[in-house]
């Protein structure tokens, strides 16, 4: 067993050097190259996890289902219906009949077991590369509380996704967004937080004041956002655990908005409008002096830090229309990076550092797109009446954004899309949703 794992590891490493085909076929090792743009989803079999204790039956069922939903939701995997199974996995410990799974063309097989003991939930799983006839990576066990069963399912799915794609996972993550109800001219907005897949929605504010554009702190425990609760846009910081919030002290007599955390979790940057002019400023979240990062008569807003904290990408209309610029994080000379037709806004630096996601307006349409930090390789991923506000999944491979539909009945909905432009899908929320911000992977 150990040897097989070792051999497989080498094979995976080797294929990493090739520009391998989208889905490993035949006897090749199990591998998906996400950047290639997968045409054919990889088929997997996931027999319902074994219930090791009498009271774990329902958990086993639900956990298996969430894992399958996570994997299918990526568009990279396809679940083989259990009705097609030849052999069943009666016990987590039983040897795998590879031929039976090969016969139904399952390339990956995921088995697991669930046990509940007191207030403790244990979830174990193993991943098999059917065509290589070997286990892929070691079996893993996660322990938590029964209420946390969804998170444990996401962790299993993250491990499977990670092993097969070679990318970091993103299922065990949360999204803070603005929940929206009512018509366009009387829209009620409140902050909400949910699991990445729309489960476990919790409201963080009431809808008595307009709230805009929440952003997670680097550890996912706090949220910065803009609220009109005083009648004027001001920046607030909210603790997700206690749901306590406080105003961040900025200059009186000004409007402040578009706040974002620096990777240090202490510094924030934001926009401040004074005398009709909007610039970008930085300060410590606990107060103190405010540093002005831009000084132009134009609009400078929507800042976003590079993952190493050394640079900021932002939007400015200093050229006459909204465009993207990059400057040192302490301010200074900015270089323009967007040059295509139309207007560019809401830049967000990828957590991998390699790309910036943005909103583009051109010829009456809105797009979510990505480009490199030098402005090259611009790629538009979506097109609609109004798409805006991208946020990155923790692995930098998926983007969530909001889409508002046209007209008097217009409604805002969250969507996600791969950076290849594939797998565009709505994220189900109880009400409308806008301005999503994706958390880092939970610890």
């Amino acid at each position: 067993m150990k040897l097989q794992v070792f051999i497989l590891a080498i094979l995976v490493t080797l294929t990493g050097l090739h520009a391998s085909s989208a889905v490993a076929q035949g006897n090749g090792p199990l591998r998906i190259e996400i950047t290639e743009g997968v045409i054919e989803p990889l088929p997997f079999a996931l027999p319902i996890f074994e219930a090791e204790t009498p009271n774990s039956q329902a958990y086993a069922q639900q956990i298996s289902q969430v894992i399958a939903e996570d994997l299918k939701g990526t568009g990279l995997f396809r679940e083989i219906a259990p009705s097609a199974f030849i052999s069943n996995v009666s016990s987590f410990a039983a040897p795998i009949q590879y031929a039976d799974w090969k016969a139904i063309n399952a390339q990956a097989l995921i088995t697991g077991a669930v046990a509940v003991q007191g207030n403790q939930l244990n979830v174990k799983f193993r991943l098999y590369d059917v065509f290589s006839g070997a286990e892929m990576g070691d079996g893993l066990q996660f322990t938590g509380t029964p209420e946390g069963w969804r998170r444990m399912a996401h962790k299993v799915a993250d491990a499977v996704y990670s092993r097969i794609t070679g990318e970091g996972g993103y299922f065990d993550s949360r999204v803070v967004y603005v929940s929206e109800a009512g018509p366009k001219d009387a829209r009620q907005k409140r902050l909400a937080i949910m699991d990445y897949d729309g489960a476990n929605v919790q409201y963080l504010t009431d809808s008595s004041a307009i709230v805009l554009a929440p952003r997670f702190s680097p550890d996912g425990r706090r949220v910065l956002y803009t609220s009109y609760e005083t009648g004027f846009p001001r920046i607030y910081v909210l603790d997700v655990g206690s749901v306590q919030r406080r105003a961040v002290e900025t200059q009186t007599g000004t409007m402040s908005f578009a706040p974002r955390f620096a990777p240090d979790g202490q510094t924030i940057v934001f926009s401040l409008s004074e005398g009709g002019n909007t610039d970008i400023y930085a300060m410590n979240i606990n107060g103190g002096s405010v540093a002005r990062l831009t000084s132009a008569p134009s609009i400078e807003t929507a800042p976003s830090f590079s993952p190493d904290g050394s640079q900021i990408v932002f939007e400015s209309d200093r050229s006459g229309s909204q465009q993207l610029y990059v400057m040192p994080s302490r301010g200074g000379e900015a270089r323009r990076i967007s040059f295509g037709p139309g207007r560019y806004g809401t830049p967000v630096w990828s957590p991998r550092g390699d790309l910036v996601a943005f909103t583009k307006q051109n010829a009456g349409r809105f797009h979510i797109g990505v480009m490199r930090l030098d402005g090259s390789e611009e790629r538009l991923l979506t097109a609609s009446f109004l798409d805006e506000g991208p946020t990155w999944a923790p692995n930098g491979r998926v983007i969530m954004f909001s889409r508002e539909t046209q007209g008097a009945q217009g409604r805002s909905t969250l969507y996600s899309v791969d950076i290849t432009g594939r797998n565009l899908r709505p994220v189900r929320t109880p009400e409308g949703g806008s301005d999503p911000s994706w958390s880092p992977l939970q610890k």
């Binding site: 366009k184 829209r187 307009i210 009648g231 409008s273 009709g276 609009i299 929507a302 806004g345």
Partner: protein, 174 residues
Amino acid sequence: MKLTKHIFLLVAGLALAACTDAGRFGANGSGAGGAGAGGANGAIVPGSANDPTSTAYFNQTVGDRVLFAVDESTISETGRTTLEGQAQWLLANTDFTAVIEGHADEQGTREYNVALGARRANAVREYLISRGVAGNRLTTVSYGKERPLEICSNEACYAKNRRAVTVLAGGLSS
């Protein structure tokens, strides 16, 4: 802070009802003022639209708003006429202060539109100051694209949403 709350309520009321409630800041604030047109037989109903010192008069007769071209904050010719009237009125009715709300249509990203609304509100404020209104009577706020008046998704509605509205406050002491 209290003042701010009042302003906010008034703003909300205006957005929804397009300012038919003259009573709130009118003298006595009786239901009669709310009739708006009022003043039949030439009698001036305090607080109604034909009481030249009322907010209703300011909103309806002087005109409380100016409109802007796409992505612009330049005051148009029509806008200047309206603002001349606003300045005259504010100079004659010195008990009032005003919050100038800047708004944008939905065709823009959210935070940019907040900044654009701030520009529009400030353009109005600067104009009123240039006509002699004291700056400390004029506050600005931007709602970006968050509070459209019209909800269709074409230019007919967008044109009305790209606005700066001068919302009076502080007339209670008269």
